[in-house]
Symmetry: C2
Subunit: 663 residues, 2 copies
């Protein structure tokens, strides 16, 4: 028997009819302009209570800073060119080609040339790079590999002759390049230890000979190598033949410019083997490859010789005495990559938080009939997921901006002390921020329920693309260990006196707090005024830091206090925005303290009731932030173009769907 | 000037040459049989210390249980048919078609018909479903939607007439079906509240008329609906017209069998509108669609009438008195979906842990020259990431096996008390396990560094596919709230006396521990013997549970103690395996306690030094588990076929790559 047979033969409505109905529904749902809070939401009693009023425009200006126009130029360019937008479904090969076309169009059509800002205005470079990453993270990475890693290595590790010869070609993309540091057996956990590739100087021909001595030394995961790159900065041990009893001397790792493909024919050059690293979890628009060198000869001039040089007769000269010092100087110059990753990572966190907060504000949870509809952000569990994350996004925005400013400063002043700070800060912040963003991308997907799983909402591709941020430019776990190790070593070196860096001032401050032991009286203070006092918050962080360092160092001296980027809320020119920033600052600080409450309780830094008061206040602040959550994400100022997959902007059906479910 | 010009024109080695070299390298790296621990690794001093010896085969048999053969049949079938394996790169439409072909081949070619075990042997069904999910999670979900959701609803909510009419068609895939519960405005956060679809009985034609009253009631995310489904179980409010002053009566939500496509022509039937939900983050082999009903007429017999029926003259009969009781009975029958998700989720956790542990054991971190190479699993930070996860995998394996046994029991005995338990346990365990697996998939990717990012290693696709396990069949956050709410409600209902369920026995036990207050003497015991005593571990968990319930309930009575699945280590017939299981059990328990140490410390359940002792012992146990980590993952008994992307098995280049980097 055919179970269908009893169904009556009615006229069958077409998909078009359904589309029409969806359109109709989009009228039922009050059409909500994306950049204004819904008037509907203001009606909710709980949403009105204690709402902080502030000027969103002022806050937005304060947040975006002076590069707003540069960023908008990038976004507008791609928005107006649908054929340059990355579709949701695209094969690896097509994605790589599209990504290359996007990069070409950016530089040659839009005339946006970020490379020139690498040294002269790094803050502008990072701002442009963040906007480019918003188009497609693959494009951001391809640009970063070319401008910051390949181009940056030429400018920062090379000298005038390299700048003169390569600047234009890098700037206009004729000389698309790679950064060949990571090797198969050395890299993903510790990106600079034990590189094995060698560069031997041949005095007769005045050339270096680049060799991959074994398969573990194959350069692996090299961006732009599989398909598009013409050049690579290859990191190799510089070997000088002394032609006497001493034999060969290893002068340590240096960077060398190695052409890998012919500029005209694009054929792989002799002695170079290129292998395609294939499909990745994300970033498939970037063509990662493996490079192997078989007696590849390059002119002596191709040594990036800022920190060490070889003369025509094979003599080595350097202003720095040891291999380790030279390597450290080199790495110091390459720190821009980490600064860029931290900065971009916050950019993706902003996108995800914007998607999740807007969805949660607009999405109504229909209860039983006759009960009022409530936004899902009115559920405490939802506030608990998203509000501390929103506060953290603000905190990281200012922290990375501060880092970018410091980095720009060292490019101008070459202040050696600041170089050390930026190195430690960039390692720490890169690993902290990228780990946090990776977790948050998952949380945002969950917070958007089933609709977060629709590819159109970008949360999946953001997570897949961003995932590796935790690993490249140094594995996060290893980086944090290095930061700790560096600090302890620096401490040992510097304890005898002399100027201490900013980082050290911070740590001394921590130690000072620690040495004064938990105060049994203040440990019992529970008032909101006290808990929201920046002095209490900073003291708590410092106390925790000092606990962690306790077993490692013996004593530190007192020093004057600085709030650093933690006090960004106090610098905003607009008073109402200051109040909003202070609110997110408090939520961030108290949520962090609550997350580590075990540490604080364990030594009675806070009494049991104070711990409860912190928890209660954190919940209250979450609720207050929830009331201005829409405005706070609006202040990130992200156009719909970057908070939805590009396909959504092209496809009418997708646009209707997103409106239908509240995205 | 052409910067290439100085490069000498040497003969250019081909990619083949490189491939050959990679082959050569695979000899340098001792070829390691995947199912045996590397002899090399046994040589490491730190790996030899305190190594527990146990019989891996016994443990494996104890773990896999009696359905090993059924699972291997599935894996062997797909392994021998490369054309049925899902490639790394595949478009959504191709993936949907491949997934359908895989399902057809499984049932019609391999003659593996899981549907028939849904009621008669659920444990066997879940075992087969887990193996099917190992081939491609999309396939596992497509199978689950068809057999467990659509088929299960027919068997569990219908009566003999439905079984007689549909069993064969469901079993042989002629009647591919959908499960249409979720609606656009009701579902992703709370999957059963406020469904709006209606089914009105027409006494004249003896039919139900199914209608979607508004666009918010469109059935959304319905698996198998976009392309392949012929039928759907549609959940709708049953409306009876009384033809008197009372007007219409809403009898509550019932399930109805609704044909959606013609069995012969596959044309969408009249009154049905189908919309494609499009690309998702993962699971793109499953064709999710939206369904809208416009006066769709189905015969009265299509009401799944186990819990409520309508007579020819429109009279409603039910053994259950209220709408809520009927809905609860219906949901109780649908709990198999959650049991299956929890069980499958542990299956994916096993795959990820196996990949990450084997990689970490084989991958050497080359230090400076002349220092011995160490496995990256010898780093404490790496042990800290992976060993508690390995212990948790064992814990969840036994916990879900226990749940499956209980579920099988209720299918046989219909023990009402056990139904309530399985409902609460499945909600709690599904949300706990899927959240843990989701986080762990990310951690495993990070633990494998850059090579974890290569698509060939499955960690990315596992994460993308598994992600939605946290949301479907009930959002995890909401599920946990429901569990808590249900428990409190049950407490209120049952406090007066009468038999308490297993869950309640557990909670009473907790309360008992709580009522006795932290013991200031035992709070100071720090010996490993005490900390590894299951009594201490269970008391600690119960104490924590009771703290959380403290404010909700006033008192509970004492009851006899049961270890449940927590004592699985003690049931293993092999003594050496028992020791291994006790070791992972201790690590799991102490790691959990350490994770919540703030709670324990806050009330002095453990003294400060005891907290330190717990931490120290956890680290020591991690190290001990590390020593047998290879054997412990081997006991999961997963063939290489499921721990690598299928493409890896087809492509020589990929196989070489995986060997090269240690996968």
């Amino acid at each position: 028997m055919n179970p269908n047979q009893t169904v009556e033969d009615e006229s069958q409505p077409s998909i078009t009819a359904m589309t029409r109905r969806i359109q109709r529904l989009s009228i039922h749902l009050t059409p909500l302009p994306l950049f204004q809070p819904s008037p509907q939401l203001n009606m909710l009693t709980c949403a009105k209570a204690n709402k902080l009023e502030f000027d969103k425009g002022s806050l937005s200006s304060y947040m975006r800073g002076k590069y707003r126009e540069s960023q908008e130029k990038v976004l507008e360019f791609f928005k107006s060119r649908p054929y340059l937008q990355t579709p949701i479904e695209i094969s690896m090969n097509e994605h790589r080609e599209l990504c290359m076309r996007q990069l070409m169009a950016l530089v040659r059509e839009a005339k946006i040339k970020p490379f020139r800002y690498i040294v002269e205005d790094p803050a502008k470079y990072f701002a442009i790079a963040e906007a480019v990453g918003n188009i497609d993270i693959s494009l951001g990475i391809k640009l970063g590999v070319h401008c910051s890693l390949w181009g940056g290595s030429v400018l920062n590790l090379g000298t005038k002759k390299h700048r003169d010869k390569y600047f234009d070609g890098i700037d206009n993309l004729d000389y698309l390049g790679c950064f060949a540091m990571t090797e198969l057996h050395h890299g993903e956990l510790c990106f600079h230890c034990g590189l094995q590739t060698i560069a031997t100087f041949d005095r007769i021909t005045d050339e270096f000979i680049i060799d991959t001595p074994n398969d573990g030394a194959i350069k692996w995961w090299i961006g732009n190598a599989a398909v598009h790159g013409k050049f690579a900065t290859v990191f190799a041990k510089l070997i000088l033949t002394t032609h006497d009893s001493k034999g060969d001397s290893d002068m340590g790792v240096h960077g060398f410019i190695v052409p890998i493909r012919d500029l005209k024919t694009h054929q792989t050059l002799p002695g170079i083997e290129i292998h395609d690293c294939g499909h990745k979890i994300g970033l498939n628009g970037v063509d990662n490859g493996a490079l192997r060198f078989c007696s590849v000869r390059i002119p002596r001039d191709n040594l990036l010789n800022r920190f060490g040089d070889v003369s025509r007769d094979g003599k080595y000269t350097s202003s720095l005495p040891t291999i380790n010092k030279r390597f450290a100087a080199m790495l110091g110059e390459l720190v821009g990559g980490r600064v860029g990753l931290a900065s971009s990572s916050v950019g993706f966190l902003k996108i995800a938080v914007t998607i999740a907060v807007r969805y949660s504000l607009l999405r109504q949870q229909f209860g039983p009939p006759k009960q009022p509809e409530v936004s899902i952000l009115d559920y405490q569990s939802h506030q608990h997921k998203l509000m501390p994350m929103l506060a953290s996004t603000y905190a990281f925005h200012f922290a990375t901006r501060d880092l970018v400013d410091k980095y720009s400063e060292i490019k101008k002043t070459h202040n050696e002390q600041l170089v050390g700070d930026v190195h430690a800060l960039s390692a720490g912040l890169k690993s902290y921020v990228t780990s946090y963003t990776a977790k948050s991308l998952s949380t945002c997907r969950e917070a958007c329920g089933g609709h977060g799983y629709a590819a159109v909402n970008r949360l999946g591709s953001l997570r897949n693309d961003h995932d590796i941020f935790q690993t490249f430019e140094g594995d996060n776990t290893v980086l944090l260990q290095q930061v700790a190790g560096d600090l302890l070593k620096q401490y040992k070196d510097k304890f005898q006196g002399g100027p201490l860096s900013v980082t050290w001032n911070y740590l001394r401050e921590s130690m000072n707090t620690y040495l004064s032991q938990p105060n049994p009286v203040t440990a019992r203070w529970e008032s909101a005024d006290h808990l929201r006092d920046p002095k209490f918050q900073l003291d708590a962080f410092r106390y925790r830091t000092s606990r962690l360092l306790q077993s490692a160092v013996a004593r530190l001296r007192k020093h004057s206090k600085t709030h650093g980027s933690f006090g960004a809320w106090n610098s905003c020119p607009d008073a109402s925005s200051r109040a909003a920033l202070k609110l997110v600052c408090d939520l961030y600080a108290l949520d962090r303290i609550w997350n580590d409450i075990g540490t604080y309780r364990n030594v009675d830094y806070v009494a049991p009731n104070k711990a409860k008061a912190i928890h209660k206040l954190t919940e209250y602040l979450s609720f207050q932030v929830r009331n201005i959550a829409g405005e706070l994400v609006d202040a990130f100022d992200l156009p719909p173009y970057v908070t939805r997959a590009p396909l959504a902007m092209k496809s009418e059906a997708y646009a209707q769907y997103t409106q239908l479910v509240g995205f």
